[in-house]
């Protein structure tokens, strides 16, 4: 049986690993023994030539090619351009973020709109090639991780990125679950242990509470914020400096992508330095050279306390998801035996202090925080391929699924944090006399009204028997399988007549779009220039 690789497709860095029978998961390093690959894609060469650089190579030329170097595609994938945090990201990103015809957030390089799925697919393809070279065999299947708090369209968009990269994504796995799988697998011991995985990455925040016992990993609850990550800490620093530069020089740097790119790099450096130092200094000579007589040179100093004060709001946003997860799991902080830190941003002392305060205990750091998620993905790939018959993962549905009732009401059917697969039934009645059909609209989210939630699809049941309002009863059955695929069945109880749909979320790209992109890639591979698009 062909191997399945595990991929951690990160906001800033990605990593690929494989499960070896008998030996467990291991990272597949790339050239120069690099174990992680920056999730950066640069469009180079002629306009629309399709020439790209991925990873380290792309990162290296980013400062000189800011408008055509795309990073953070994970922040955009499967999202609408009008989402609040997408707006923030667009403001600081040196490349352009535009709206696709369906409202999705895409990037624009030169004049070509490119979906984040396509950007991500370059990274996935790079990792796939890396794995093929390391293993010496063709690879077509992968388990790819996403933040637990990704919704269905973000998951589907990630799947689509895999399709474009020629990978069959066997499973989309939650990152904190993957981390726990990799971390916990080495520490099997008698009895049941409750661990919390606190995963603060570049762009997302997840908290998962799991029970580990006898190699069974049961997720009890998961929560998070799919728009909170290390980049937000950078953004606060960038905003801080952009404001101070404006105050001092009356220059708005946000319209200067090169300056913004350099500022972002400096902010990242300063943030990292502040993890170990009390103060950090940035020096950016010739940062901006437009209009004015003198080019602007910048030197700024920042202390850890200043930085923490600036980012206090962000630290606060970590609390609610943690308490929410504990509540859903029916646990309190003292029930949790260990808190595992994952993700680059969890290295920050202020974050660790916050974690300690929330869980009332010091947290432990994963030995290899940049690799642990990919290792977990590979471990799960081993389970799926049948190479590991012991470890078992019981994951949950991260979001509530329900239906529209009345004009805007939301009636819960499957509660968030239900173990997958899950099936629930609910009875409903008609609300009109002699109603001929019902149309059940299915939504996902935690809001009490449908306007705050996301529509997944609908099922229509016609030919209802005649009867007074409320007398014709309809049983709704909702099933979610381990792949998060939803099927909905509506049955009229007196006649047994039913209608059924299988709902797969849209990642924003239609089947036709996908086919077109895959075809385009094929043509590009033959170096045929592509005519410019105009939509």
């Amino acid at each position: 049986m062909a191997r399945i690789i595990g991929i951690d497709l990160g906001t800033t860095n990605s990593c690929v690993a494989v499960f070896e029978s008998g030996a467990g998961p291991r990272v597949l390093a790339g050239s120069a023994n690099r174990r992680t690959t920056p999730s950066v894609v640069a469009y180079t060469g002629e306009r629309n030539s399709g020439d790209v650089l991925v990873g380290e190579k792309a990162l290296r030329q980013a400062v000189t090619n800011p408008k055509r170097t795309v990073f953070g595609a994970k922040r955009l994938i499967g999202r609408k351009v009008n989402a609040k945090d997408v707006g923030w990201f667009a403001r600081t990103a040196p490349f352009r973020i535009v709206s696709a015809p369906n409202g999705d957030a895409w990037v624009r390089v030169d004049d070509t709109p490119i979906s984040p799925q396509e950007v991500a697919s370059h990274v996935l393809r790079e990792l796939r090639t890396q794995a093929e070279e390391a293993l010496g065999e063709p690879i077509t299947r992968a388990v790819v991780t996403v933040p637990a708090y990704f919704d269905d369209s973000q998951r589907q968009a990630t799947r689509d990125a895999g399709t474009i990269a020629g990978l069959d994504i066997c499973r989309i796995l939650n990152e904190p679950t993957a981390a726990a799988l990799a971390y916990g697998a080495h520490r099997v011991r008698e009895g049941r242990r409750i661990i919390a995985v606190f995963d603060l990455g570049g762009g997302t925040f997840d908290i998962s509470i799991m029970a580990v016992e006898n190699n069974v990993f049961e997720v009890l609850a998961t929560n998070g914020d799919s728009a909170l990550g290390g980049d937000d800490w950078d953004r606060v620093l960038i905003d801080h400096w952009v404001d101070s530069i404006f105050d001092e020089h009356r220059v708005d740097l946000t319209s200067d992508p090169v300056a913004m790119g350099r500022l972002k790099e400096a902010a990242e450096g300063a943030k990292r330095a502040l993890s170990s130092e009390r103060t950090a200094t940035i020096q950016l000579p010739y940062l901006h050279a437009a209009d004015g007589p003198e080019p602007i040179h910048i030197e700024r100093k920042i202390t850890r306390d200043q930085f923490n004060a600036l980012t206090a709001d962000l630290l606060n946003r970590l609390k609610d998801p943690c308490f929410g997860a504990m509540q859903d799991a029916g646990l309190v902080a003292s029930d949790i035996e260990e808190v595992l830190l994952v993700g680059g941003m969890s290295r920050a002392p202020a974050v660790q202090a916050q974690v300690e305060e929330i869980f009332q205990q010091p947290a432990s750091k994963a030995a290899n925080p940049d690799e642990v998620v990919a290792l977990g993905a590979a471990a799960h790939a081993g389970i799926l391929a049948g190479d590991d018959e012991e470890a078992t993962l019981l994951d949950v549905a991260p979001h509530t699924i329900g239906i529209k009732v009345g004009s805007t009401g939301f009636a819960e059917i499957i509660k968030r944090n239900s173990m997958l697969p899950v099936r629930e039934h609910k009875l409903f009645a008609t609300n009109l006399d002699d109603q001929e059909f019902v149309e059940v609209e299915i939504y996902q989210g935690e809001s009490e009204t449908i306007t705050g939630n996301r529509k997944l699809g609908q099922v229509r049941l016609g030919g209802l028997p005649r009867g007074k309002a409320g007398t014709v009863r309809i049983k709704l059955t909702v099933t979610v399988d381990v792949e998060s695929i939803l099927s909905v069945k509506a049955t009229e109880l007196s006649t047994g007549k039913s209608a059924q749909v299988r709902i797969t979320a849209s990642g924003g790209l239609s089947a036709d779009d996908l086919e077109e992109i895959v075809e385009k890639r094929r043509t590009e591979a033959m170096s045929v220039p592509r005519p410019p698009e105009d939509d």
Partner: protein, 388 residues
């Protein structure tokens, strides 16, 4: 064409199967891959137990059944695909055929497992005692998850296998969710008790015709199979040999003879059993109930022949005593297991469960056999997959 036919198949075990159907068409010489001439018969749907019997007969004759029919077909009213009259010699199978067959076998095993599981209560589903602790519930569910979680089935290409595994796991997870804490277990027990009493009361009111008692190795009466919900409720047909005329007093409390949920079945029989084989008639209802309980304890202690004797006597005395009747089937099933006849055993256990749907032992025995069948078939399929 359309002429009704009836075929009596005598199996090596001595059981006879009645196949009823109509002639669909005449098959010319050389048709159907050279299997003609003959007739193509549309059979009426076969009860599950008959399928088991045929399978058992084929396997004991060393014949591998042809690729399985669609399990939905075998379980739903529409007639299964027409079969030839005589079981044919199976040709040597190529790897591809083997694969198809192994997949089909697994589908069938899962389907049957799902079927028997759907009749079980939460404790039976997780293979737990009614006194199970949190820790035991988790351990049981964990162990079952290792075998039945859909992740363990992703490797199989067959959509049907994966769907069935999904269904099986949903039953297990729902049971786990209910039993995971003490309050949940109490509620579940109360519900099970209520259901039991309800069905016992129903039986008292309805007084159905006496269920069949089956002497070993004689033609079994067609057992109303539980595969289809409706079929299951039909009262069993009259038995070929009428029971001895010792009707129990009309007031014989059936419910009283049903074992209580809280009773510990696992406790070995401490009662001496030497002289119980000889019936002493007439007995009072209370005494009879005691003897049935004793019989069941003897059965539990592993003395199947002994238990069979006791229970048969009680069943003959009171043909409405479902516990005794089911006990007879259970004892027969255990004996069949000892003799290595798994198919016969499964049939007996199914029969026990049909007679007494609340019968603990029967449900557990069946669960055990189904699990065994599934894992065996998975093993075979996995082996084939590794070869490729």
């Amino acid at each position: 064409m359309g002429t009704p036919v009836r075929i009596s198949l005598t199996l090596p075990s001595g059981s006879t199967i009645e196949l009823v159907g109509t002639i669909k068409r005449f098959v010319e010489q050389g048709e159907l891959d050279g299997r003609g001439p003959g007739i193509d018969i549309s059979l009426q749907s076969l009860p599950q137990s008959v399928m088991w019997l045929i399978e058992s007969a084929l396997s004991s004759a060393g014949i591998t059944p042809r690729p399985v029919p669609d399990p939905k077909e075998t379980l739903s009213p529409p007639p299964p695909p027409a079969e030839d009259e005589r079981p044919e010699e199976s040709p040597a199978l190529s790897d591809g055929d083997e694969w198809v067959q192994a997949e089909g076998d697994l589908v069938k095993a899962l389907w049957q497992e799902l079927n028997s599981m759907s009749k079980m209560n939460e404790f039976q589903l997780l293979d737990l005692e009614y006194s199970a602790s949190d820790q035991e519930v988790r351990a049981a569910f964990g162990a079952l998850s290792k075998r039945y979680h859909p992740d363990r089935f992703t490797r199989y290409e067959s959509f049907e296998i994966r769907e069935l595994a999904n269904e099986v796991f949903i039953l297990l997870r729902d049971a786990y969710r209910k039993l995971a804490n003490e309050q949940g277990r109490r509620d579940a027990l109360t519900a099970i008790e209520a259901k039991k009493e309800g069905s016992a009361a129903q039986q008292r009111v309805a007084t159905p015709p006496p269920p069949p008692t089956k002497p070993r190795r004689t033609p079994p009466p067609p057992i109303p199979k539980a595969a289809q919900g409706e079929a299951r409720r039909t009262p069993p047909p009259p038995i070929p040999t009428p029971p001895p005329p010792t009707p129990a007093p009309a007031s014989a409390p059936v419910a009283a003879s049903a074992p209580k949920m809280t009773q510990n079945y696992a406790s070995p029989a401490s009662t001496p059993v030497s002289n119980l084989a000889t019936p002493r008639a007439p007995t009072s209802p209370g005494e009879s109930a005691n003897r049935v309980t004793m019989g069941m304890n003897v059965l539990e202690s592993g003395q199947y022949e002994q238990a069979l004797r006791i229970l048969r006597v009680e069943a003959r005395k009171d043909p409405t005593n479902v516990t005794a009747l089911a006990g007879v089937e259970l004892a027969e099933g255990r004996l069949a297991l000892v003799n290595g006849d798994r198919m016969e055993a499964a049939e007996r256990f199914e029969a026990a469960l049909d007679i007494d749907p609340s019968n603990e032992r029967a449900a557990r025995e069946i669960a055990d056999m189904r699990r065994h069948a599934t894992s065996q078939r998975r093993g075979l399929l996995s082996k084939l997959m590794k070869k490729v």
